[in-house]
């Protein structure tokens, strides 16, 4: 068994002149860089998930069959199940909107998630406002404005259309916890 300690390195460096040596060092670094680049380019691109396809023309959901059946001045929560592309499987998600009308003709719809951290909020019948139980956020029913608590922006209002007495909502989700309204 040979021992390999630095003391055995002879003083004369044979062919190993300093110039050759530093060339080899730079060559190694260059090769290593190319190798790392060749591997990391596709790898870094692949770890970013593909962006979900946006539905053309919006995601219109029928939330009420007959406007005449909706209470005036009392919001109602409508839940609906949608099939969504979940990477390589198709799964179903439950989403909800709060629907509100003062005259039975014009409707307001709010995304069912609190703008703070996405909890489902509910209608507080006594105080007549929306209340989020997670961190005590409160919103105005008529405008969606924040009345109290940590939510950074008003409730996310959604587009509404009334066709043949049915109410349709263009359902979208928005980024949570930020003051700006940015589509998620």
């Amino acid at each position: 068994m040979s021992s390999t300690s630095a003391e055995q390195v002879p003083a004369s460096d044979g062919d190993g002149s300093e110039g050759r040596r530093s060339f080899l060092k730079r060559l190694s670094a260059f090769g290593a860089l190319i190798s790392a680049g060749l591997v990391s380019f596709p790898v870094l691109r692949a770890i970013f998930p593909p962006t979900a396809r946006r539905l053309k023309g919006g995601n219109w959901v029928k939330v009420a069959d007959d406007t005449a059946l909706l209470d005036i001045g009392v919001p109602i929560r409508v839940n609906f199940v949608q099939s969504v592309d979940d990477a390589w499987i198709e799964s179903r998600t439950l989403n909800g909107v709060w629907l509100y009308t003062e005259d039975g003709e014009k409707f307001k719809a709010y995304n069912g998630h609190c703008t703070h951290l996405g909890c489902s909020y509910f209608y507080d019948k006594d105080r007549k406002d929306f209340f989020c139980p997670c961190h005590r956020g409160q919103f105005d029913v008529k405008t969606g404005k924040v009345l109290d608590g940590p939510p950074p922006r008003p409730l996310d209002e959604l587009e509404v259309q009334v066709r043949d007495a049915s109410v349709f909502v263009n359902y979208k989700d928005f980024r949570l916890g930020v003051p700006e309204r940015i589509e998620a």
Partner: protein, 500 residues
């Protein structure tokens, strides 16, 4: 050295590590063949990195494995490239490990004092083959499913323990969900841990023992056998002399290693990007017509089984790999003559040459022997029973004699066979109804068509319908995911009939 560097150095002696690791003197004139081991290591690192990405998108369940791979191939940016690199990396590992072993064998580097490292190397060879075998199943396409069925059946022919062994491999009596999770676990948990540990020991010994001096330096005036009492002293002197040239591991050796490694990685990147890994139709356990083939590096062995009579099968299928293991393990303990150069070891040269040539011949035979008439369903889904009946009809009527179809080996062409359109994407262009009418009487559509009419009495309407359904399922290679755009034009008489 920076202040932080000095602070760390005072505590854990980085200088000492550098001296014994990077500055260690090495034998001069090491060849390019000496870079094969480090190239294997480089490819292994590629496999680790690309494998982690594959793991992010892979679902090890028969319900979703195929879909998740297809998602990676189609939806993920560069996903196909990453998978392609992993796929070709597996082949590169096998090639490089074998080449490295041949290098060590021909230079007699497994002899004193490197017997232990040879044993570790043999273990690594079989771990790499284990990676190949377990990884092949994971995409859960036809090829994966049926090749693994055959592979595990071979293990089942082992005398006495065969039945137990095959259940153990499959995680049940039948190949299925439990087999997939089992192979997945072996591929991403057990084998990587084993490989890392043994590679660590392998490298530790390389650093501890140094690379073997060139053969000539260990042959002049050498004692006859490595077991002779004078040999260790002789070896030490010679080895010391070989290292006096002033060559050091860094950068003299590493520069060479990096060059080889970079070239190999560049080849992998090109193959991964431009050839890719391929994905057949999803595994269909009810499809008895599929002829499976193992990955190319198992083919010589697979081909060998065709040559032996059934009663010898288990002896060859199980005995040969076992014998190989035993021979490789015992090699450094039996072969104690001190001659190292392959040119001075005629017996070793003959055996090695014989093995390489016979493996190459059998690999070639296996390539030529590609099963004929195997029509691959190209839809990226499992065929319905009607479509499958149509596919049988396609083979029986020898449609492939004139028409080309991707994924199907060409049927020997008839002498006067006219050139006919390729059918790989016929289902994208024409509806089932159109295909049905066309098959009945092609001349009605194209007056100078050379295609025979298949309407009754040649085929019944039922059979034509089956054939049309099958043709309609041909919508290009699964990876392309094209949508059909029918361009059906019917000849006049039929149109008139329809308007009535």
């Amino acid at each position: 050295m920076s202040r932080v560097g000095r602070w760390i150095d005072e505590r854990i002696d980085l200088t000492g590590i550098r001296r014994s690791l990077l500055d260690r003197p090495v034998s001069q004139n090491l060849t390019w063949w000496h870079t094969l081991g480090s190239a294997t290591l480089a490819v292994f690192l590629v496999q680790v990195v690309t494998g982690i990405v594959l793991g992010m998108y892979y679902s090890p369940s028969p319900d979703h494995a195929y879909e998740s791979i297809r998602y990676l191939e189609r939806a993920v940016v560069s996903g196909a490239t990453v998978r392609g690199m992993h796929h070709w990396g597996a082949s590169a590992m096998v090639v490089l490990v074998f080449a490295h072993m041949i290098r060590v064998f021909t230079m007699g580097a497994y002899k004193y004092p490197r017997e232990i490292n040879w044993l570790l190397g043999v273990a690594l060879l079989f771990i790499v083959l284990g990676f190949g075998f377990t990884g092949y199943l994971l995409p859960w396409d036809q090829k994966a499913y049926w090749a693994t069925a055959v592979g595990t059946n071979i293990a089942g022919t082992t005398p006495f323990i065969g039945a137990k062994l095959v259940t153990l491999l499959r995680g049940g009596s039948q190949q299925g969900a439990a087999t997939l999770t089992r192979f997945y676990s072996l591929h991403v948990l057990l084998l990587p841990v084993l490989l890392v540990i043994i590679v660590g020991l392998h490298l530790f010994l390389v650093i501890r023992q140094g690379v073997a001096p060139r053969t000539a330096e260990l042959e002049t005036n050498a004692p006859k056998r490595t077991s002779d009492s004078g040999y260790p002293a002789y070896y030490r002197t010679r080895e010391h002399e070989s290292k006096t040239g002033g060559y050091r591991f860094w950068p003299d050796i590493i520069a060479k290693d990096v060059i080889t490694g970079t070239m190999v990685i560049a080849i992998l990147a090109i193959l991964g990007r431009f050839v890719g890994a391929g994905l057949e139709a999803p595994a269909d356990p009810t499809d008895s017509s599929y002829v499976p083939l193992p990955e190319w590096y198992f083919r010589p062995f697979f081909q060998l089984l065709k040559l032996v009579p059934g009663s010898w099968e288990s002896a060859i299928a199980v005995g040969l790999p076992m014998a190989l293991v035993v021979v490789l393990l015992l090699l450094p303990f039996f072969d104690k003559r001190s001659t190292r150069s392959i040119t001075k070891r005629p017996a070793a040269a003959t055996i090695l040459g014989g093995i390489i040539i016979s493996m190459a011949v059998r690999l070639g035979a296996s390539m030529r022997d590609q099963p004929k008439n195997a029509v691959a369903p190209e839809v990226g889904r499992i065929l319905t029973s009607t479509e499958r009946a149509g596919r049988t009809q396609f083979e029986r009527q020898q449609c492939g004699g004139c028409h080309k179809l991707a994924g199907m080996a060409a049927v020997p062409k008839k002498e006067d066979a006219p050139d006919a359109p390729e059918l790989t994407e016929v289902g994208l262009r024409h509806s089932t109804a159109w295909l049905h009418s066309y098959l009945e009487d092609p001349v009605r559509f194209h007056p100078d068509s050379k295609m025979p009419a298949y309407g009754p009495p040649t085929l019944s309407h039922q059979e034509i319908e089956e054939l049309s359904r099958y043709l309609s399922s041909l919508r290009g290679l699964p990876a392309l995911n094209k949508q059909p755009e029918f361009r059906d034009t019917f000849p006049e008489p039929l149109k008139a009939k329809e308007t009535k």
